[in-house]
């Protein structure tokens, strides 16, 4: 079934998707968060009538516009890339995945693109209230578009609300609400948007800190910091809560990913959480029999068990438990899953053959069997394992998962304190004296981007080798095309996006240097 598909084709196709997704994700979180921040600032303007707030709103809106354009540019590629590079996947899940994508276009993108025109150009054309409404609708539209794509991603992490139909050789939706309200999708949406609010707040504080350090536009900067620090602090607390729920969801539904990001090779009861550590990669001992998994580590006992199962002594399975199976805890090993997956694929092939030879009775009985609840639950559930030959390929990159998870969490904790300090200094009227903190604030901007990217690396690389958890490995999903063609488009995008990124950073820096215009007095 996979003739003509080489691993280098899969790697290049993945690299291209990673490249375009990571570039897109440089711009999106700022759009999501800054949109709301600008709307809050404009609300303050409309409520107080203070022209200073209008000046503040307009300044951040200019940066929003520059960032928004490039977010759009990088986003269109992603939507179509599902088709161009993952065409087998597109058919296999199109019945489910397409709906959120279409709703995203109809309900969210149009809202965003209609009202953004009023937000930018409507200051002198529509009433104050209608303008404010447009700014809010732009921000809401942006966040709504995140909802639908994250519902689709949530489904890839944990497929629900569907049945496999052998006749069409694809997954078909049986419950729209199950897909939409899948806890995985809900946590993913809440965690992703709230972390984007954090990033945007840090951006606003960092840029404002630069003004204060330069001794210019100080009132403007202080007002911006107060709004961003309150919003950022609230969002960061929420990010922690949703992150915790998300981790628990992963522990239950993607236990391999969970073990990978904790570097847990061998499971145990009352497992401890490695707060910080350096992974030791021993080539001679790939499954880490000798448990020399870390060069150094700081471990907090029992926390991992509690985090995963809300029980201090619960058993948390490690990588090896899932590969070899663990009878004591009822964990099925990889060979058994692979054999069940192969059975599912064989049944499907037999059905296709019967259909082709016109043997209707056999075909019908095979179809009934494949679509029976029992077969779907006990065999089809492991369909993707049928494509796997070496069980060890079921383990995602442990260092990549471990470090991306820990970078994200450590920085997330730091951000909470960062917002509190920023708020404290500003409200006490001392912020202009705290030069070190102001410098730290500027350097926190790249850290926010790092944390945000790390989150996606964990979510996507941690799911490997699956494109859809347990159902479809990337190797079965990729479009059959020459590797050279994908390499060409990969480098093309790398060049185009890098050029545009440089342009965007230069333009942003220059606009920041110009600062807020002093024309806020009108209206």
């Amino acid at each position: 079934m996979l003739e003509g598909i080489s691993t280098s084709l899969v790697d290049w196709s993945r690299a291209q998707f990673a490249l375009t997704a990571m570039y897109h994700w440089i711009f999106v979180p700022l759009t999501l968060g800054l949109g709301i921040l600008v709307a809050i600032m404009e609300t303050l303007y409309v409520k107080t009538g203070n022209p200073e707030w209008k000046r503040i709103t307009k300044f951040w809106m200019t940066l929003f516009g520059i960032n928004f354009a490039i977010g759009v540019a990088t986003g269109i590629i992603l939507e179509f890339e599902f088709g161009t590079n993952w065409s087998n996947y597109s058919w296999f899940v199109g019945d489910i995945f397409g709906a959120p994508l279409a709703i995203e276009g109809i309900l969210a993108f149009f809202m965003e693109s209609t009202f953004i025109a009023i937000m930018f150009f409507g200051w002198n054309k529509v009433s104050k209230k209608f303008h404010l409404l447009s700014t809010w609708l732009t921000a809401i539209g942006a966040n709504l578009s995140a909802l639908w794509i994250l519902v689709a991603n949530g489904w890839m992490q944990r497929p629900v609300g569907m049945i496999f139909n052998p006749e069409t050789a694809r997954m078909e939706m049986t419950s729209f609400w199950e897909v939409l309200f899948s806890p995985t999708a809900v946590y993913k949406f809440l965690h992703t948007t709230s972390s984007s609010f954090v990033l945007a707040s840090i951006f606003v504080i960092g840029v404002s800190a630069w003004y204060i350090l330069k001794g210019r536009d100080v009132i403007f900067a202080r007002k911006s910091i107060v709004v961003a620090a309150i919003f950022g602090f609230t969002a960061s607390m929420y990010t922690v809560i949703t992150g915790d729920s998300s981790a628990r969801d992963i522990a239950h539904n993607q236990s391999m990913k969970f073990a990978a990001f904790e570097g847990l090779y061998n499971g145990s009861e009352g497992a401890g959480l490695v707060a910080l550590g350096l992974i030791s990669q021993n080539q001679a001992d790939p499954s880490n029999e000798n448990l020399k998994d870390f060069t150094v580590k700081i471990e907090i006992p029992n926390i991992l068990s509690y985090m995963a199962y809300l029980n201090w002594d619960a058993f948390v399975p490690g990588v090896n438990d899932m590969i070899r199976g663990n009878e004591k805890y009822g964990i099925m090993g990889a060979p058994e899953k692979i054999s069940r997956g192969k059975t599912a694929i064989e049944k499907l092939t037999a059905y296709k053959l019967a259909k082709k030879s016109g043997d209707k009775i056999i075909a019908d009985s095979l179809k009934t069997e494949i679509m029976s609840a029992d077969f779907q639950k006990n065999y089809f559930k492991y369909f993707g394992y049928g494509y796997i030959s070496d069980p060890h390929t079921l383990v995602p990159s442990i260092p990549l998962s471990f470090y991306s998870f820990h970078i994200m969490v450590v920085l997330g904790m730091y951000f909470i304190f960062f917002f509190l300090i920023a708020l404290y200094y500003t409200l006490k009227g001392k912020i202009h004296k705290k030069k070190t903190f102001l410098r730290i604030a500027i350097w926190t901007i790249p850290l926010a981007y790092l944390a945000s990217q790390a989150g996606w690396v964990l979510a996507e690389a941690g799911r490997q080798p699956w494109i859809i958890q347990d159902l479809m490995p990337t190797i079965a999903a990729v479009t059959k095309i020459s590797t050279g063609a994908v390499q060409v488009t990969f480098w093309l995008f790398a060049i185009i996006f890098t050029t545009l990124l440089i342009a965007e950073i230069k333009i942003m820096m220059r606009q920041i240097k110009f600062g807020p215009k002093s024309e806020g007095g009108t209206n």
């Binding site: 490039i70 939706m173 488009t489 342009a503 333009i507």
Partner: protein, 376 residues
Amino acid sequence: MFESLSLITLQQYWWLIVSLLGALFVFLMFVQGGETLFFTIAKNEEEKSLLVNTLGRKWEFTFTTLVTFGGAFFASFPLFYATSFGGAYWVWFAILISFVIQAVSYEFRRKPANFLGAKTYEIFLFINGLLGPLLVGTAVGTFFNGAMFSLDDMKHVTWGTEFRGLEAVLTFHNLALGFAVVFLSRILGLLYFMNSVDNEAIYERSKKQLLYNTIPFLVFFLYFVIALLFKDGFAYNPTSGEISIESYKYLHNLLAMPINTLMFLVGVVGVLWGISSTLLKGGTKGIWFAGGGTILTVWALLILTAFNNTSFYPSIFDLQSSLTIENASSSRFTLVAMSYVSLFVPFVLGYIWYAWKSMNNEKITTKELEQEHHVY
């Protein structure tokens, strides 16, 4: 309410929606057409800025319609999405890249420290304006003339050439549609300038260009339509699903679907009226007739490719792999769920109309631009 509809009715309903999105997109490509005319119409920086800003406030509608068209096509006919996008790799990426460079160009063009310089961004817009309509038109040509793919049991696509879709330009009928769309988008761009920019010189130059673009448009469009009437088409048997070649298939479709044919004719007359009334009598209303006419014409043409048991994406590499609205669609369940979402469409169109109106009440002038905070 949608649950009671038959599967084929749902499939037809969704083809109507996707085609309507496609038709709206072609109309909204007046933005692309306009982008190829900055250097022709504007004689100085001030005039160029007027034109760029006029389109700059609308480009996102076109872009969003393209994205929504892609999403709706994926949701309702995922096999087309998988087959065409995965198969005609180079064509789709060429189209996409032309839209990627467009998306930043308005915003970045005049910003200080923009790295590439204003001229580069204007060239980006020109490339988008030319390649977008040309490639989209040529790609839609393959709906009538077929593409080089085959599908296996698992619906995995194999493409017949290494050119991955670019070979479509070798069929003149495809290319004729591509050029017709290029000139149509320029015509619509000109009519839009005449409608929304308050500047005498721009109006006069646009009017002159309107004539120059109408002639090649008519040549390519008439060739496309006449050849269509006489060509073989791809029919399918609704019971067995078998695909076969039928002589004069599209002529048969026109005769079998009189309402659609009427819509097509009204559309063509609308476009011609929009152009000729502007050329003869002047005025600024041409865009409404030509724009409305474009929507009706394209909608009718796309319906022609799929209804009356026609394969909308035929394969000339492996005839039986051809796609029809019956074999390429989503499941009944998904189509029903999506149909409920489609009820929001009138509401969305309503607020777009309202927003557009409140912004376009005042024509663009140099004075207005000077007072504007956000200028491209």
